[in-house]
């Protein structure tokens, strides 16, 4: 029983990271209709920027905040300069562009920061201590990450539902032409979406470096797939869905693998295929995901 609980706890921990990156993916999709394949690499890149700041003497939390801001600015710049020209064009072109960014950012991270093994942060961001709850160890770091993730989604929910800016963001995504007519600066709304997503992605990257060291240029590659699965599971349009999807996926993967000893299906090697199965099943059976609204396309 304790093992079950421990695996659930560990699943929630890894799931929070999937959820955070999934959140970034959802934000961009919701505000621009684009699935950004480069989200993970962007997160890695910004995490390296944070490392550089700390390496030059900035304190961890200062670097954290600064990196989030830099990522935001970077996301806005990316959208305005690189993505804008192809928005509204064929889907394939945009997919190609984000894949180009994926390759480019991966290459840049390797080029600038090279292959050394480094941990980030050098000291733990949250205390390493754990609480023992009936034999189950719950680390403060994991709890902290989960807390921040939930906090982010609450903030975003409030932003989208209760602020004028959020309304403008949603309008620009749903119906750009009509939004322009009522005075929404659609172009800047799209850029804002990218900026927000990049900032959230930076947080995901910083968490990953802390929870699954070391910091290396490839660290977000598998996380990207899990994040896609989480976003699809929860609903590509739903920030809350991203969190639900992420946590559920994290727990599901851990439990399946743990209880495989009874099933003898050797599933412990199949984490990624299981994620793929989740993506495929959801897209076929209920494309809107658990929390998205089903969209009916009339021809």
């Amino acid at each position: 029983m304790t093992e079950f609980a421990q695996q659930v706890v560990a699943g929630l921990a890894s799931g929070s990271i999937y959820a955070t990156l999934a959140l970034a993916i959802v934000i961009i999709y919701r505000s621009t209709g684009v699935v950004n394949f480069a989200q993970g690499e962007l997160a890695t890149f910004t995490t390296f920027i944070a490392w550089t700041l700390v390496d030059h003497g900035v304190g961890y939390w200062g670097a954290f905040a600064l990196t989030v801001l830099i990522a935001f600015a970077g996301g806005v710049a990316l959208e305005r300069l690189v993505v804008r020209p192809v928005e509204g064009g064929p889907v394939l072109t945009v997919v190609m562009l984000t894949i180009g960014l994926f390759i480019l950012l991966g290459g840049l991270s390797n080029w600038i920061w090279k292959a050394e093994v480094r941990s980030f942060p050098p000291n733990r961001p949250f205390p390493t201590s754990t609480w023992d709850l009936g034999g189950v160890a719950i680390s403060k770091q994991d709890l902290g990450i989960l807390g921040v993730t939930l906090g982010l989604v609450v903030l975003l929910y409030l932003l989208f539902q209760y602020t004028k800016l959020g309304l403008a963001l949603r309008a620009a995504a749903l119906n750009p032409a009509a939004s322009r007519l009522v005075g929404v600066r659609v172009g800047w709304m799209l850029a804002l979406g990218w900026g927000l997503a990049a900032a959230i992605g930076a947080v995901a990257g910083l968490f990953t470096a802390a929870a699954s060291p070391p910091l290396d240029p490839n660290m977000m590659r598998p996380i990207l797939i899990y994040a896609f699965a989480a976003a699809v599971l929860g609903g590509l349009e739903s920030p809350i869905g991203a969190i639900v999807g992420g946590l559920a996926l994290g727990v599901l993967l851990n439990l399946v693998v743990t209880y495989d000893t009874h099933l003898h299906l050797e599933l412990d090697r199949l984490r990624l295929p299981i994620a793929f199965l989740v993506i495929l099943t959801v897209l076929l059976v209920r494309p809107a995901g658990l929390l998205g609204r089903a969209v009916v396309r009339r021809v």
């Binding site: 180009g100 080029w111 896609f228 021809v299």
Partner: protein
Amino acid sequence: MSRLATVRGVATALALAAGVVAIFLAPRWVSDIKLAQMGVYFIALLGLNIVTGYTGQISLGHSAFMAIGGYTTAILVVDHGVRDLWTIPLAGLVAGVAGFLVGLPALRLSGLYLALATFGLAVAMPDLLRWDKLESVTKGGQAIQLFNSPALTGKGFENVDLLGHSVTFTRAVDYLTWTVALVLLVVAWLLLRGGPGRAFRAVRDSEVAATSSGVNIAAYKTLAFAISAAYAGIAGSLLVIAVAFADPQSFPAKLSLTLLVGVVVAGLGSLWGVLAGAAFIQFLPDVAVHFSKAQGVPDTVYGAALILIVLVLPTGVAGGAHRILMPLTSRLYTRS
């Protein structure tokens, strides 16, 4: 119109002849091994172009079909002693069936969703190949060595007798790959020039209009998937023959992305651009290394070049060439 058709026919025949000559001359300047790999890319790109360029279905999963074809060849050669040449069409067949099976659910997914799902497939495939439960078929995570296998032409290192000439193994592989490539190019060309090609283009341009005109969308979309998967399977098979080696890591997800790069550089819906696309993905990393030997530079140039092409030349090399050549050929367009 008939004058145009004649010119086109002559141009095509000349191009094919030039292609055959090029296959023999190229190894003088470029390594056999790299040429063979470029040929593998070329075939895979032909296939990908059919499904993505012609019917507009984005597939990021073609590395998985290459893996299926490659493993088919490896298993047949090593476990069953089937001559490698005969495994090539078999690999295409198996991969084609897989493509058909993927194409069916793909009917219900569009655009981005299809890209996502096929990307997931590409990422999952290496792990599936490592799965213990499939070990009796795929040997789990272990490599399959075709080297020294009697069923492999030249056993991987010996010289091969080709029409009375003795050529090295790698040279023979190079010739084999490009011969198959040329044949598949002609097949694709015939296919796309005829009924299926028109149906594919109709599906891409407007599914609504196509259905109204009586085109069976589902059939053609799945057909496109199957054919393109078969091409990828043959490419995978040739890859395995070339390195005399197969393992799950030979077909990583990144390969799917690389293929998509090639197809966009080529220009979607164009067969001739595919040659430029294959050359791009094969040789750009080699060129990038001249800028700097530091790690990550090739990828950086690769990604930057891709982004630039997408922004500046969205119709790819073929589109660009078309734009340049059109004024020259406009005189051939008669009004009737």
